[in-house]
Symmetry: C2
Subunit: 596 residues, 2 copies
């Protein structure tokens, strides 16, 4: 089956030839698994993504969810696709057998899910939000909460949301105002408004389980006074079936540039339209400890952010395959030296500048996919590794997470930009697919922590935590790769370039933290994030080249050339960024409001 | 009147303080003009753009033109705005008095028109296409063609189009197939299909004047066999009024990602639906000489390409002003050192990373505007300069044109990207304006010669023409600026950086042309275009800094800081690009189709 969604050959290269995920099967948790079972799930997902998701991707964009004042309407293909997804057991794919799961390693699960993200990111968002919600409750919820809410989610009967932002508080969760009043029976009543809630209202599932950040009475101000609550759309009857409406009301839909098929809502909690037991307030239950809500939420943040990065990669990847296909089919122009107007036009791919745009896309999307799968495998290792390795794995995952989220959000969006350019005027029309990918992907630098937030997380937190232990382990890992590559004449030059860049970023990191005060240290944090991102991606590419080198099949030649592209065209961009950081440039810091 | 369209203060800085356009009034053509008359037209345009164009920009996007199979429908606000524009005499603003014009210098005309491009690029496209069409006919048309077709266009009664591309031939005009058959009366009948025709069908004007590239019988193949024809939608009666339908039929509309309000059409010529005098074929008349059609068209290309660049700047500029306004109004988060959650959130602009995004936008859009106005002034000087200066001016304009087109198309699109990012989630919704600017601006790297075509034009033609005379004059101009700036302690560092970059690009240019064959020389032409673009923009910024330096008012401090941003953050990006070029990197050239 050929498709323009993802490249199965490349996925298999990453999973089996590079990451050697079959080795995970030595852990007891995955002992029933083998390459055969992994391939079977990949087959299933590829087929399902083609048949049930890609097929309505454009329609879901053109006919976005609409609200008639009473209810939200979503094209029927969405529910059909999600029912097929749930019936295949994929919502629980990563869970334990006892929860009805497949105990798939996260790295394989992510590779499987990438098919759906690439085929139709908007429809795929519903189950992936539900999975994130379920994972959080499985970690922090009580047994009763798990039985009551998580099991129906894993079966696809209930869907889940995350309710963090409020209209006045986007990135700044310290300022959320939604409040929760304790009730005599141990439950709570919630009052407040939540903004940007994906999947906040629909009829795709029997019920919706909202995870809501809110404040208890007398909670301390700021982030230390935020608790987490479970608030369903419908309260359950004594048999556990959805029954009475809870006091959660749709206040309106957000109409976005892209990602249109995912209904995005403004929800009002406790405005009194529905009054369970005759009282206003949305009924909810505390999850985890009081005032520890943000910690509960952020415990899952690594996975959520890797998920966003993977979504950005998936959109970039499918755009690249569309552009490649078009460049092979469309004939236009002639070789520069050919002055014969009678000769046939050549395929676009014959033009060096078109190959530049395709090679850049290949380097971005294959690099981004590799990074995200690498991180997903760290999630697996974190669960199953021996105790003495655990700290290093967690530290490495922590330091890589902001990059795994932000780098694909920036560069796979650029891949989508280039995919349009390869198509020329046709790419700018809605008759082709690439303009939608570009619009969809533009969300990714914004949600789950903006680019700027990721930068502060990396420079202000991750590389300084435990006296720099996170950065140390990353550097150690990179230097391990370069040491292995250095003796190889084909790779020695790349290893040396990467070593030099690593040396420079370590130097820059020290200078920044010696700068003295956070305003100066963090003023150019976004540049730091981008420089570190390119260095990490160069490392990821060098690892892929270690596997591909010396092999003559086209696939491996392509890997080598894309790696060469990354080292010759991309990594050098980091040099002026690092020079700027080393200079402690204050241009932006000292710019005054009144000068604009 | 405050608006978020353009910054009047900045326009006046550029026109009067930097370019000193009042000096143009010493030429006889502009002797009636003065700063007062220029300001009066700027006032008029600013007010009209606010009142009649910006007011329906969103509606024109949401309710794009539609075709019911019989006719095209366009929201009524478009015609109302265009009638106001025409009644004010603006279509003829740059023309001679005898044609009903104002004899405005091009640089002032462009500054005036920038208001409309920023307020509503889709509606503004109709008159600007008409102006381009009229300018072409004024240069190449017969007196009768001018009287019959141009005068009604300048009065706003007829609108114009440019019909170059065909479905099978986008950038590759050598392959166009539309044919023109000579008739006994000296007219022609045209047969063929034209694609991407903006303004190709509508009822906004009494008639539409198509300028069509086509082949005469027995014309040589390729670009040397293309002629230019004037083909109206409606043939005229004996009084010069539109009457009978010509054989030009709308085959369909293109539905674009942005720029939606400009109807974009596929036109069929000579399919026989209408048969003037009982014969199939669209009636047309030759413009200029047979087989010289491309030369006629390209004579106007400098101006058209500067116009695209200006459109890209205008969209970037209005997006920047929207982002700046939002960043001042929206309060979110606190200073990094402020740990008190009771304190009020600060305005977004208080965050250094938000100032980074605003400063980048400011540097891109003010730089792009300055470059385009500089080029527009060269157009004026080209018309009015003394003979001995004429060659230099024309050469400089020729070498700058691909940059004036492509640089804003790339970097002012990036400004729109940053404007969304400043808005966060809100910027991604259609409730705000910035997502539309981003979608609209994405067209500009595609039309009027793609980015790759501009790169080939610059490196393959412009910098080598007349043995490098174009590059020589550019370098000479830049070095004149750096020599003036060098003695100034505030500017000396920047002058030295720019000198070094110029030295390097000259070196690279020589190496590339010594490379021997065009495939190798031109393989990385896009990188050359981008490197040269950043160098030219640094020069443009240094010129602005020469005017602003040492002055304490906020406006000038802002100019200096934006210039500093350009030199510290942007110009250094050119170094790795030039290193890549100097290495004659073959990564893209040698990439094979089968390796993808």
């Amino acid at each position: 089956m050929s498709s323009l969604i993802l490249d199965r050959r490349d996925l298999e290269f990453m999973l089996y030839e590079w990451l050697q995920v079959e080795q995970l099967c030595m852990f007891p948790r995955y002992s029933d698994h083998s390459r055969e079972t992994f391939d079977a799930v990949l087959d299933l997902c590829e087929q399902m993504a083609n048949e049930h998701f890609a097929s309505h991707n454009k329609k879901n964009d053109a006919q976005e969810p609409w609200f008639d004042g009473e209810q939200v309407h979503i094209i029927p293909e969405v529910k059909q696709a999600l029912d097929v997804f749930a019936e295949a057991g994929l919502i629980a794919a990563g869970q334990d057998y006892e929860l009805g799961g497949m105990q798939l390693p996260t790295v394989v699960e992510k590779a499987c899910f990438a098919w759906f993200l690439a085929a139709n990111v908007a429809t795929a968002a519903y189950p992936f939000l539900t999975i994130a919600n379920a994972n959080l409750l499985l970690h922090w919820g009580t047994k009763q909460q798990i039985d009551t809410w998580v099991k129906p989610m894993l079966a696809g009967r209930f869907f889940g949301t995350m309710c963090l932002s409020e209209p006045q508080a986007g990135s700044s969760l310290a300022d959320i105002r939604t409040r929760a009043e304790p009730q005599a029976d141990g439950s709570y009543r919630l009052f407040g408004n939540k903004m940007w809630i994906s999947g906040g209202e629909h009829s795709l599932s029997e019920n919706i389980v909202h995870l809501v950040l809110a404040r208890l009475p007398d909670a301390p101000p700021g982030v230390k006074g935020i608790s987490l609550f479970l608030v369903p759309k419908l309260l359950l009857d004594e048999h556990g079936n959805p029954a009475e409406r809870n006091d959660v009301v749709l206040a309106g839909l957000n109409h976005k540039m892209g990602y249109r098929g995912t209904v995005n809502t403004l929800l009002n909690f406790g405005e009194g339209k529905f009054t369970p037991d005759g009282k206003a307030g949305a009924v909810g239950w505390l999850v985890g400890e009081p005032n520890k809500g943000l910690a509960c939420m952020f415990h899952m943040m690594n996975e959520a952010r890797i998920g966003v990065g993977l979504g950005a990669v998936a959109l970039g990847y499918t755009g690249y395959l569309h552009a490649l296909d078009y460049a092979r089919e469309r004939r236009q122009g002639r070789a520069l030296a050919n002055k014969d107007p009678h000769s046939q036009p050549v395929a676009l791919i014959e033009h060096a500048d078109v190959r530049r745009m395709l090679l850049a896309q290949k380097a971005y999307v294959e690099g981004g996919l590799a990074l995200n799968l690498y991180c997903a495998k760290l999630v697996d290792e974190q669960r199953d590794a021996l105790d003495e390795e655990l700290d290093d794995i967690s530290l490495l995952l922590d330091v890589l997470t902001p990059i795994a989220k932000s780098w694909p959000s920036q560069w796979c969006l650029e891949a989508n930009n280039l995919a349009i350019q390869v198509h020329g005027g046709y790419g700018y029309t809605r008759d082709y697919n690439v303009e939608q990918f570009y619009r969809d992907n533009r969300l990714n630098p914004i949600h789950e922590g903006t680019h700027g937030i990721q930068a502060l997380d990396l420079l202000g937190r991750k590389v300084v935590m435990q006296e720099g232990a996170g950065l140390d382990i990353l550097v150690q890992k990179i230097q391990q790769t370069t040491a292995e590559a250095a003796p190889d004449p084909e790779l020695a030059g790349y290893a040396a370039e990467l070593d030099a860049a690593v040396y420079q970023i370590c130097d820059v990191t020290q200078q920044l933290h010696a700068a003295g005060h956070p305003e100066l240290t963090l003023a150019n944090a976004s540049v730091y994030l981008e420089a570190m991102g390119h260095i990490v991606l160069a490392w990821i590419w060098l690892q892929q080249m270690q596997v591909a080198k010396g092999r003559q099949e086209d696939f491996y030649r392509g890997k080598m050339q894309a790696g060469q592209y990354f080292f010759n065209w991309e990594l050098p961009k980091a040099a002026p960024w690092m020079a700027l950081l080393a200079d402690l440039d204050t241009t932006c810091l000292l710019m005054q409001d009144s000068w604009f």
